[in-house]
Amino acid sequence: MTWKLFFTSSIGKKFIMALTGIFLITFLIVHCGINAMIFFNDGGETFNHWGHFMGSNLIVRTMELGLFLFLIMHIVQGLTLWSQNNKSRPVKYVVKNSAANSTWYSRSMGLLGTLILIFLVLHLYHFWTPSRFGGMAGIKALDETSLATYNNEEVHNLYAEMKLVFENNLLIVVVYILGVISLCWHLLHGFQSAFQTFGVNHKRYTPIIKGAGVVYSVVICLLFALMPLAFYLHWVN
């Protein structure tokens, strides 16, 4: 069996979704953990310090390439599956009571994923582009955010960038919260689904995995949702 045959089979495609999904789940822990440092309310010093570490460390930057690769694989594979699965039932049911047998979000991963993708484009434009290309003319997404200096080391002031994006923009705050809600539903299904795909289904462990998935999804998304709110409502300054 060739690799191509393996990964283009229906089960191989699931493995790609699960593998890249688990990588993205791990990434979100790091992303959320570092961003949550804004809640120290120290003018962003701790957050900017770690933001700078993530932006300048060679290993992390290399992993960032992997992150983009996996993200693109997850998106392309997901959209392909969505389209293929849609074609497998050309004539739809007139009456379908799906609520009787499955959760709406488990059936709506393609839709939720697309909403997250739209949000992600805006999100990268707000933060990733300025922090990576901040010094280059013409590519900057927003007004110049000043460099902050801590211990004689200049770091990109992502804290100021967050403040700029969220402080007086109710619309942006609402869009971010809607994006995070989509993410939450997506994770609620995706977390436990990835384990099932890898064949982990056990009387003892599956309830733990499902419970951990709910805790993970709610905690991560709640923290993310509080970030734009914190700036908008001046909980942090």
Partner: protein, 254 residues
């Protein structure tokens, strides 16, 4: 339980053949006993249609005792109707009330083309079984049952997977029309028994390859199949299928 009679409005999918487009037609039935099975109610309706000179409704059925897997109706938006762990033939009219309107459609999937009305062609399932859902042994005298020691747990799990009757409710109910539960049941059954070992690798690879050829969709773990399966086949079999496929796919030299 108290016996009662009911009058019902039925909206039933009529489709001449695979090439024509179908539509829901409305019928009335009167004095249906709550003790009748759903298929007996269909027999009453068909007798009415025959007497009136109309074409009776084509539907699959055979044993009418919940074990053959032939009956296949999508009733009020659910495969085999409102009861769980139940086939259409074992659905009884006490599930409905006087004056109800019931919508009946065929299984809908690209892999299950409609033959006529509520009958669909499920030979895609046969071709998947032909691809590997068997063991190759010379038949002869039956050997003593205890001459092959099998762990109780494995025997029980294999037996639960073997309960699949191949009705196709999993495909019919799945948002993706995936056949993963059906395929996993046969793979899981044989993978846990000593007789299934010689062809264990080729079985899972060939059955999955055939499943992919038959235009079924891809599983996204909604678990609707398990909820609607008349035999309660567990999605833990799908997890086992994934493990079997991963292990066979990585180690095979085919």
């Amino acid at each position: 339980m108290e016996h009662y009679n009911m009058n019902l409005t039925l909206k039933i999918w009529r489709q001449k053949n695979n090439q024509s487009a179908g539509s829901l037609e409305t019928y009335q039935v009167k004095d249906i006993s709550s003790e009748m099975s759903f298929l007996e109610m269909f027999d009453v309706l068909n007798e009415q249609l025959i007497v009136a000179g109309d074409d009776p409704i084509a539907f699959d059925h055979d044993c009418r005792e919940g074990i053959c897997g032939q009956c296949s109706m999508h009733i009020d938006g659910r495969a085999h109707g409102p009861w769980t762990n139940n086939t259409t033939c074992q659905l009884h009219m006490r599930a409905f009330k006087d004056g109800d309107t019931i919508v009946v459609e065929p299984w809908r999937s690209k892999a299950f083309p409609v033959i006529k009305d509520l009958m669909v062609d499920r030979s895609s399932f046969d071709r998947i079984i032909q691809a590997g859902g068997y063991i190759s042994v010379n038949t002869g005298n039956a050997v003593d049952a205890n001459s092959l020691p099998i762990d109780k747990k494995d025997a029980d799990n294999a037996f639960m997977a073997a309960a699949c009757i191949g009705c196709g409710a999993c495909v019919a109910t799945c948002v993706n029309s995936s056949a993963m539960l059906f395929v996993s049941a046969k793979v899981a059954q044989l993978a846990q028994l000593p007789q299934g070992q010689p062809e264990r690798e080729s079985r899972v690879l060939n059955m999955v390859a055939q499943m992919d050829k038959e235009n079924f969709g891809n599983c996204t773990n909604t678990y609707a199949c398990e909820a609607e399966c008349p035999k309660g086949i567990s999605v833990s079999n799908i997890a086992r299928l994934n493990r079997e496929y991963l292990s066979a796919g990585l180690s095979t030299e085919q």
